[in-house]
């Protein structure tokens, strides 16, 4: 018999429906688990114990009275600390927002609240999403529950670790270049970067506005589809959100894969993939064949240029987005003899190294005389990357790659060389400039028991298809 914090969302909903579990028992179980695990893992920046228990009691009360409840009634969850949550601190993992209390809720918080889900805390991350290991947080590193000497991935590493150990049944991460998929892979859970615009970004602290994607991190594929069904959709507060109707993503996932085509990207398998990761991917391919899929080799010739283009655009947008961190309207402010000195000291003292590096690089890439060479050139390469990817989907239904080329690594192993760290994101960063959806699904473990994830990439708005592949794989 599973302890409540070990349940999936679906299992917990069924037990509560049958009256065999209360929301209060479930929330208490998760909060106790958090208390036990946090001294070692540090997945949370803020824990919302009182409000969570209060809401759980209200939901139990309402259920007793036979009131109609939301689709996620009583389910405890967490969000990455980049989402505004009314009355609760939102730090983005940076000291520059320490003490900032959000005056309003992000749209996803409103939607989850509207379905009676219960927020139990806000999770650690690389500051502003800048990183792949959660080592760049001002609130300490998060440790991987599968091996505490190793990173949980990033930037949504706190979300990955929390879902993995049962600190809430799901989390909402944020993915600008792999920040949902990398920690999903390293922590052995399911993480979706949806199509750009599928989920509203309103109330998310911006990293790179033309990449940022809001998505669910869950224990299994069904839960992921269920959460996406709740949070997706048009939002008048985010002009880039899509008006396309939102299906119930849980409905078509059991359909057969017979005759479906999977593309293997030739260029990706050459890029220094760890032998154990490669082995797990090869086994996954065999499994898909067994499910009736055809496998085809696909070429994405501009792959070699993707990382450079991704980062140039990403840091340019970041340098512009982070200009608002000035200490005037929110966050700590430093002393200085005039306004510029105060401004420079505030940012110098409260941004971490990776934030400063990216802002300076982005400012450089946008500066007079360099914008054509860097920013505009990268946007042109982006057009080629998009054409490459869309063309690939003329011949195959999805692409399959490793999520990360390597196993979860040890603390400090890559942090001294920022360029080396950036290159680890080769398979994940390519997706965001193009805007397509990509799902990371567990596909095996290393000899020492470390999780390995595969990435399923689909054409724009093909989330339903991705879930169908993933669910069939998970069940087989």
């Amino acid at each position: 018999m599973k302890r409540p914090f070990e349940l999936t969302v679906k299992e917990a909903l069924e037990l509560m429906e049958k009256g065999e579990l209360t929301a209060k028992e479930l929330v208490t179980s998760c909060l106790n688990r958090v208390r036990d695990m946090e001294p070692e893992i540090n997945a949370f920046i803020t824990i919302c114990e009182d409000s969570a228990l209060r809401k759980a009691s209200q939901i139990d009360e309402a259920r007793k009275k036979g009131e109609i409840l939301g689709r996620l009634a009583g389910i405890p969850y967490t969000v990455k600390d980049v989402y505004n949550t009314e009355g609760i601190q939102t730090t983005a993992g940076s000291k520059i927002l320490e003490g900032y209390i959000s005056p309003y809720n992000a749209t996803i918080i409103e939607k989850l609240d509207g379905q009676d889900a219960i927020l139990i805390g806000k999770t650690n991350c690389d500051a502003f999403g800048f990183g792949s290991s959660t080592e760049n947080s001002a609130y300490g590193v998060t440790r991987n529950p599968h091996d505490t000497e190793r990173v949980p991935g990033g930037s949504s590493g706190g979300s990955g670790a929390a879902v993995s150990y049962g600190g809430g049944l799901f989390s909402i991460g944020e993915d600008t270049g792999g920040s949902i998929r990398c920690p999903a892979s390293f922590c052995g859970i399911v993480g979706l970067k949806p199509t750009y615009g599928r989920v509203s970004r309103f109330g998310a602290i911006a990293y790179a506005s033309s990449y940022d994607s809001v998505g669910p991190m869950t224990k299994d594929v069904y839960d992921n589809a269920l959460i996406l069904s709740v949070i997706a959709g048009k939002d008048s507060k985010d002009a880039t959100s899509s008006p396309l109707p939102v299906p119930d993503y849980t409905l078509e996932m059991e359909n057969t894969l017979k005759g479906k085509r999977i593309g293997i990207v030739k260029e990706y398998m050459n890029q220094g993939v760890d032998t154990q990761v490669k082995q797990a991917i090869d086994q996954a391919i065999e499994k898909f064949k067994g499910l009736g899929c055809e496998i085809a080799e696909v070429s994405l010739p501009y792959t070699e240029y993707a990382i450079a283009a991704y980062y140039l655009i990403g840091i340019s947008e970041a340098s512009s987005n982070l200009a608002r961190m000035d200490g005037i309207r929110f966050g700590p402010i430093s002393e200085g003899s005039d306004w510029q000195e105060r401004y420079m000291n505030t940012r110098g003292e409260n941004f971490g190294a990776e934030e400063k590096r990216r802002i300076i690089l982005g400012t450089y890439a946008l500066s007079e005389g360099y914008a054509d060479k860097y920013y505009h050139k990268a946007q042109q390469v982006r057009a080629l990357l998009k054409a490459d990817m869309v063309k690939a989907f003329e011949n195959v239904d999805i692409l399959l790659t490793p999520t990360m080329p390597i196993l979860p690594f040890k603390f400090g192993e890559n942090s001294s060389d920022p360029l080396k760290m950036w290159l680890l994101d080769a398979f994940t960063v390519t997706i965001n400039p193009v805007g397509v959806p990509a799902l990371s699904v567990p596909c095996g473990k290393s000899e020492s028991g470390l999780p390995i994830g595969m990435q399923l990439i689909g054409n724009h708005f093909s989330e339903e298809l991705l879930y169908q592949f993933a669910r069939n794989f998970e069940k087989a």
Partner: protein, 98 residues
Amino acid sequence: MAKQITTEDIKRIARLANINLSPEELETFTAQIGDILAYVDKLSQLDTKGAVFKSQTDLSNIFREDIVEESLSSDKATQNRPKSSKKGYIAIKSVLNK
């Protein structure tokens, strides 16, 4: 090959970005940013003539009716102001000299 970036370049850019850097940071960043710029320089080898990026999902020109809705009160919108500011205001040090 791009020209080597110097500490003077980084100092100038950091001032544009309004970030104060320590001498140690200046030195580390100059080397690291130099490496990164050398890496991204590979884009210059690529022929991108005629390539134009429009949007991720082909959405364009999103309009809506201009309807007045309830918004944050000034109290709430300024609730994170520095402690020295009066309610509903944000006080800053003087920008213009008398």
